[in-house]
């Protein structure tokens, strides 16, 4: 079995420990570099993403696999790259979260998983994220995108507050901002000065790919 096949099996079976161990041993034995392993992981996630698009597998398969891969990158491959002073290639860095006073996470987590599977570096801040937390994280990791979710009409306004806070700090042009969530709309996004809006996770990927180019 090739390295890629073995890794693919571990990802598909959600064997996080197995994948960590296997990658670590490959690095230790110098049979492969962290960059090479990241490339393999990229192609595995592409394969899984394609299967998902074709409805051969479903959301849990996709998110579960993305979770396994993310842990292995964070705990094994990233440290290995940083140890030799390198930086990994991504399509862009996205800070994502559900805004203050809102605990809905499923849609936002789907977007995070999709972004990750599509080659973005994702910082998922969870739920009830304040403007302060969004901006601090974006600054800390030199993010390209800030993504905000809101599932309540009551919490929508906090999306606006994050953008106002960015303007206040003179950081608005530094980041592209995308918003989403059931009560939001394209009009709402325009009204609060966001760069993009998406209705679901698949739309979100397309929208982010589009704004990151501009």
């Amino acid at each position: 079995m090739s390295i890629e096949e073995k890794m693919k099996n571990l990802v598909v079976e959600w064997d996080e420990d197995g994948l960590k161990e296997f990658c670590s041993s490959l690095l230790e034995q110098k049979r492969s570099s962290a960059e090479e392993l990241l490339k393999i992981i990229g192609s595995i996630m592409k394969f899984i993403g394609d299967q998902f698009e074709n409805e051969e597998i479903f959301l849990p398969d996709l998110i579960g696999a993305a979770n396994v891969v993310k842990t292995v990158i964070d705990e094994v491959l990233d440290p290995a790259i940083r140890a030799i002073g390198g930086e990994k290639n991504t399509l862009g860095k996205v800070v994502i979260g559900t805004v203050e006073s809102d605990v809905h996470s499923i849609g936002k987590d789907l977007v995070a998983s999709f972004l990750f599977s599509n080659g973005f570096e994702v910082y998922n801040l969870g739920v009830e994220v304040t403007a302060e937390e969004f901006i601090n994280k974006a600054e800390e990791v030199s993010a390209d995108i800030i993504g905000m979710s809101s599932l309540l009409t009551m919490s929508m306004d906090f999306q606006k507050q994050v953008i106002e806070e960015l303007i206040k700090r003179g950081l608005r042009d530094k980041y592209k901002v995308i918003v989403g969530g059931a009560p939001t709309s394209e009009e709402w996004a325009k009204q609060i000065g966001a760069d993009a809006w998406a209705d679901d996770a698949i739309e979100a990927i397309a929208a982010i790919k589009k704004i990151i180019k501009n």
Binding site: W14, E55, F58, L59, H104, I106, D109, D199, I202, E203
Partner: protein, 509 residues
């Protein structure tokens, strides 16, 4: 646990109906047109009146004959590889209807007359469906000579599907053709009898009448042990009492009398205890197949079939609508769900509407999806330590990270495919995504599916020799005159009206 089946009768009521049906059979009996059928019934203990042609069945005769009826049988596709068992415990789904028109949005009336090309398309679609196990001669090929339709259809069956096929027992000549052709296809009578390929259809005419053409064909089907549906189509208020209990009592007698005849013809011959009875709309005199009462009648018949331990057949997907609208949707699902919940073992009529007179291939693929949902519904809820999932609840509820959910849990991955039905055609997208995908309604999506299936369908390759034999046989059938046909059926009439209102008459007259 599996869902409890709907019982519309208490045990006492069931016995009451059973007794009343037996009383009808003993005191009035059934009018049997065929001299031969009356003779064999008489030889086997029935009381025959040669003036009125009524045949009375004693309680002991019915009870004796019920003993040899099988409670399960297996249907096979032409090459024998596809198998589907019909028994008293579970539910399978099929087509059946008599569409003489087909949905055609390009036609100004929205429908047009059906031709052989439509018949073939229907067989091909059923071949590809996950939940529909058998197509019957549903779509009537109006462009084929009526006395040769059965032969052409069998040929198209073997060319176009891996699944079994159903045909009406329309006379001994046609039924024998069906057996001869099927026998050529499967390699002999022995194989055909051992592994049945065809489903017969025998309609007693309500009230209490067995027409000659039907018993002629029924004899052939039972002889070859091809499972045959006995399904009266009584209409409450016109061909039976308006009361549903009265209709069920009367049709029960019709079925039991026919069952007795089947077992006299050939003990152990597999049959379906069936119904396609519904009601008369008292405002117009029209039959109403999408009526909620049809569901109740079907449920009553299912319960009686269980009482006799015979696999049941009943209609689902029934609708009286003339268009593919909400009425069409709610009536077909309502009749389908009731039939399934009542425990009918072979639910039919997928793809039809307007009381089965019209076919829509679009509805056929939608029905496949509806059946998927209904199958899931009657599976009920599985309760085990694992499905209760107390550990995963504890794990997710106590995770410190906010907003963690069950999606990425192994428990979800392991169970989702068994727990959840994934509809193929229902749209569950968010509105923006639905717009992006063309804002298509269910009929458009179904129509695209139909095109996709038909474009990718592969015709079965037949050995050249078999192909020739079949085509030669069709030629022989085509060459028959109407007089030959009448003679074979002992008929002395100028035209024959089939149970579905289709009239067969001499083209020259």
């Amino acid at each position: 646990m599996k869902l409890k089946k709907i019982d519309v009768f208490s045990q006492n009521e069931l016995e009451e109906i059973h007794s009343a049906s037996l009383e009808l059979l003993a005191s009035v009996g059934m009018k049997v047109d065929s001299d031969k059928a009356r003779a064999i019934l008489q030889q086997n203990g029935a009381e025959v009146n040669e003036d009125t042609h009524f045949v009375k069945f004693s309680e002991s005769l019915i009870k004796e004959k019920l003993k040899s009826v099988p409670s399960s049988f297996t249907l096979h596709g032409p090459d024998g590889k596809f198998k589907a068992t019909v028994d008293v415990n579970h539910t399978e789904f099929a087509t059946i209807g008599t569409p003489v028109k087909i949905y055609d949005p390009d036609h100004d009336k929205g429908v047009r007359k059906t031709v052989m090309a439509d018949t073939i398309n229907q067989i091909r679609i059923v071949d590809s469906l996950e939940n529909v196990i058998c197509s019957h001669i549903d779509v009537w090929p109006n462009d084929i000579k009526y006395t040769a339709i059965h032969a052409h259809c069998i040929y198209q069956w073997v060319k176009n599907t891996k699944k079994p096929y159903g045909l009406g027992c329309l006379g001994r000549l046609a039924s024998q053709d069906m057996m001869n052709l099927a026998s050529l296809i499967v390699g002999g009578d022995e194989e055909l009898i051992k592994h049945p390929r065809l489903v017969g259809f025998m309609n007693p005419t309500s009230p209490l009448h067995l027409p000659q053409l039907m018993t002629n064909g029924f004899e052939v089907f039972t002889k070859y042990k091809q499972p045959t549906i006995i399904a009266p189509e009584a209409l409450a208020g016109t061909s039976s009492p308006v009361t549903l209990a009265g209709l069920i009592t009367q049709t029960n007698a019709e079925i039991l009398g026919s069952v007795a005849l089947s077992q006299i013809y050939n003990p152990g011959a597999p049959i379906f205890y069936g119904t396609v009875s519904h009601i008369t709309d008292m405002r117009t005199g029209n039959s109403a197949m999408g009526s909620v009462e049809m569901g109740l009648i079907t449920a009553g018949i299912a319960q009686l079939a269980r009482y006799y331990n015979i696999p049941s057949r009943g209609p689902g997907c029934g609708s009286d609508s003339k268009v593919l609208d909400l009425q069409n949707g709610y009536e077909r699902m309502q009749t389908l769900m009731l039939a399934a919940q009542a425990g009918i073992n072979y639910i039919t009529c997928a793809g039809t509407y307007e009381a089965t007179l019209v076919e829509a291939l679009e509805l056929l693929v939608i029905d496949d999806d509806l059946i998927g949902m209904v199958k899931r519904a009657i599976e009920g809820i599985t309760v085990t330590e694992d499905t209760i999932g107390i550990n995963v609840i504890k794990k997710v509820a106590t995770t410190e990270r906010k907003g963690v959910n069950f999606l990425a849990e192994k428990h979800t991955k392991d169970h989702m495919k068994n727990e959840l039905y994934f509809p193929k055609l229902s749209d569950r997208n968010r509105r923006a995504t639905w717009y992006k995908k063309g804002a298509k309604d269910i009929i458009i999506r179904a129509s695209e599916k139909v095109t996709e299936i038909l474009q990718s369908h592969q015709v079965n390759d037949l050995p050249k020799e078999l192909e020739e034999k079949l085509l030669n046989y069709i030629k022989e059938v085509e060459a028959r005159t109407f007089d030959e046909y009448k003679k074979a059926e002992d008929l002395m009439v100028d035209s024959i009206t089939l149970p579905d209102g289709i009239e067969i008459k001499d083209e020259k007259k």
